[in-house]
């Protein structure tokens, strides 16, 4: 009899606690549900905030980084003297390794017509160091810029580059607009 009483008391406490916990879960769930977004979110770099510090190459959980240079061809001036391709102390405007700014030779320089050259990023070689971006932004149109490549990105819960980005250029964007490719010359013109 005594045992039964203890048993039913236990069951009562268990049930009460279960309901309490269930209700608090429902509470937390419904508040979170009011903030929920049915969209998928991915990390992306705002090229207009990026300061080309070079951390994207080092802090990604992937080696090499999921951040790669993209080329917004709309903006490119197709310069022969390309600040993104050639080192400032280059000796000749050619494809010689000693003249290239890119540490992995990931930019291909192709002759189109006098005096224009096309610059194509080899994504497999690019490490996202932003050296070319710095050069292009300082001396050119800024058509070269960094973007997180979503076929590579692990979409970590918190981007380990975002944590160390000095200009807070990395934030979450909706996955149906997963890239911020530079359009016009300024942010205003591109409507971004």
């Amino acid at each position: 009899m005594d045992k039964d009483k203890a048993q039913s008391r236990r069951n009562f406490i268990d049930k009460g606690m279960r309901i309490t916990l269930g209700l608090s879960l429902a509470g937390v769930g419904s508040v979170a549900l009011s903030r929920v977004s049915a969209k998928k979110w991915v990390w992306q770099i705002d090229p207009f905030l990026c300061t080309q510090c070079g951390r994207c190459a080092d802090y990604c959980v992937l080696k090499p980084s999921a951040v790669k240079c993209v080329h917004a061809y709309d903006l490119c001036g197709y310069c022969d003297l390309c600040g993104g391709y050639l080192r400032p102390e280059h000796t000749e405007r050619d494809t010689g390794a000693e003249n290239q700014l890119c540490p992995t030779a990931a930019i291909e320089r192709r002759y189109i017509e006098e005096p224009y050259y096309e610059y194509v990023i080899n994504r497999d070689l690019c490490i996202g160091c932003a050296k070319c971006v710095a050069g292009c932004t300082a001396f050119g149109n800024g058509s070269l810029h960094l973007q997180i490549q979503h076929d590579l990105c692990m979409n970590c819960n918190e981007c380990s580059i975002a944590r160390v980005c000095p200009s807070n250029a990395i934030s979450r964007v909706e996955s149906d607009a997963a890239y911020i490719i530079k359009g016009g010359f300024t942010r205003e013109e591109s409507g971004g």
């Binding site: 279960r18 929920v36 510090c53 903006l75 189109i112 224009y116 590579l152 944590r163």
Partner: protein, 433 residues
């Protein structure tokens, strides 16, 4: 040879001039620039402009597949536990989880880390949590209210990798297990504090196994992961028992589970065969009924410990809130503000990217300090809450020491049991049809 050298230097100088000119252009006010510095050329050779490479992210539909997979795995584990009573079934589900959620999904998305997203969404109105993450947070907890920690048994990749490498588990003394068992709550509280203040997602950052799933991480994290697995051969599931913050939540909900798995399918015959079957020391043995402690003395201790709980809460709150300045430095903005105030000479350190970026951004130091103070105040308030919570957990743990539960049979401890099903194999009782 000499001549070409001359030409090179000549070009070099000319280029330098061009660069200097360009630098001048850079410094001119942007208003005078309605167009590009170098307008796009008109090509005569019919050149076709390529488009930038932008591969699509993993589709949203596949995220829902993950949720469906989680649900299916947990439902299967429950079925294997309660209906089939099959450890083998759970073993193979663990293998599947390790392959799918571990090595295929690279340990991300996981319920353990989802705590931070949900906490952040509760406190920060601007943060939107995705439906998938919320489902990953809620589903295992809901399941545990009904059937115990079926998530830990077979749906968690972190649990699976540890469960599958257990070789020769050692037994922990109860006091040590209970003391170390406080840490997951501390970790949970700290992770929530850090997530809510926008400081860091420490659960994800210090996840020891995600580097193994990804086959690559920082050196220290790989060492931690492999070290944890090596320890895990002898201390079964060390992360789950003494670290996992989500496990702390599950421990609470599972303790009141409606229909937890049992060792025996029918009546326990006290054969003691299951006694050493649990690698996690999660089986409660029936107490010797003669050894029931002195009721009056026990009651006095119970009341004492109950009264002590508010004291623990206050002590904890005081201790952690006193450390709020130290804790808040984990936030990058507070760290930077602190650095700029205490070491102003660092402004001249051109190698410090954070300081140089801040200085060139034109943001006044006062603004940064104000922002840092807001965060520091959040840490002060949060410190009281976190400390109070830790104190509460300590108080409850102590109180549990004097709660005497009469047990007549061998039963899994509903809170600590991972429902792995090992003990069921040891039970000789067969349920009568």
């Amino acid at each position: 040879m000499h001549l070409t050298g001359c030409i090179y230097t000549g070009t070099h100088k000319a280029l330098k001039a061009v660069f200097l000119l360009l630098l001048l252009f850079v410094m001119m006010p942007p208003a005078s620039f309605a167009q590009q510095r170098f307008p796009r050329p008109e090509f005569e050779t019919g050149y076709e402009q390529p488009t930038p490479v932008t591969p699509e992210p993993r589709s949203l539909a596949l995220e829902y597949v993950d949720v469906a997979m989680l649900l299916a795995v947990m439902a299967l584990v429950t079925w294997f536990l309660l209906k089939k009573r099959s450890r083998t079934g759970i073993f193979w589900i663990s293998v599947f989880t390790l392959v799918y959620f571990g090595f295929y999904r690279n340990g991300c998305i996981c319920s353990v880390g989802s705590v931070q997203n949900v906490a952040l969404s509760l406190f920060n109105t601007g943060y939107s949590v995705s439906l998938t993450v919320l489902a990953f947070f809620l589903l295992p907890l809901i399941f545990s209210l009904f059937y115990g920690r079926v998530f830990c048994a077979g749906a968690c990749a972190l649990g699976a990798i540890q469960d599958l490498i257990i070789v020769k588990p050692i037994t922990f003394p109860s006091w040590l297990q209970k003391t170390l068992g406080i840490f997951p709550f501390v970790y949970l509280g700290l992770a929530i504090l850090f997530a809510v203040t926008g400081t860091d997602f420490i659960i994800c950052r210090y996840d020891p196994f995600v580097g193994i799933f990804r086959m690559g991480a920082e050196f220290t994290m790989i060492v931690l992961g492999i070290g944890m697995l090596l320890i895990g051969m002898f201390v079964a599931r060390p992360y789950c028992r003494f670290v996992c913050p989500y496990g702390a939540l599950l421990r609470v909900t599972s303790f009141f589970a409606r229909r937890h798995m049992t060792i025996t399918p029918a009546e326990c015959i006290q054969c003691r065969l299951c006694e050493s079957s649990c690698p996690f020391d999660a089986i409660d043995f029936p107490g010797d009924s003669n050894a029931r402690p002195d009721t009056e003395k026990n009651l006095r201790r119970f009341i004492l410990y109950l009264v002590l709980i508010p004291v623990w809460v206050a002590l904890g709150g005081f201790a952690v809130s006193s450390a709020h300045v130290f804790l808040s430095r984990a936030h990058p903005d507070v760290f930077l503000a602190n650095l700029l105030i205490t070491k102003p000479e660092m402004r001249n350190d051109l190698d410090n990217i954070d300081i140089q970026t801040f200085l060139s951004s034109g943001k006044p130091l006062e603004t940064l300090v104000e922002e840092a103070e807001v965060i520091q105040n959040q840490f002060y308030t949060g410190g009281w809450i976190l400390g109070g919570f830790i104190g509460f957990v300590i108080g409850i743990t102590l109180l549990n020491q004097v709660v005497f539960r009469r047990k007549t049979d061998y039963e899994p401890h509903k809170g600590n049991c991972y429902s792995c099903g090992r003990c069921m194999k040891y039970c000789p009782v067969i349920k009568k049809q």
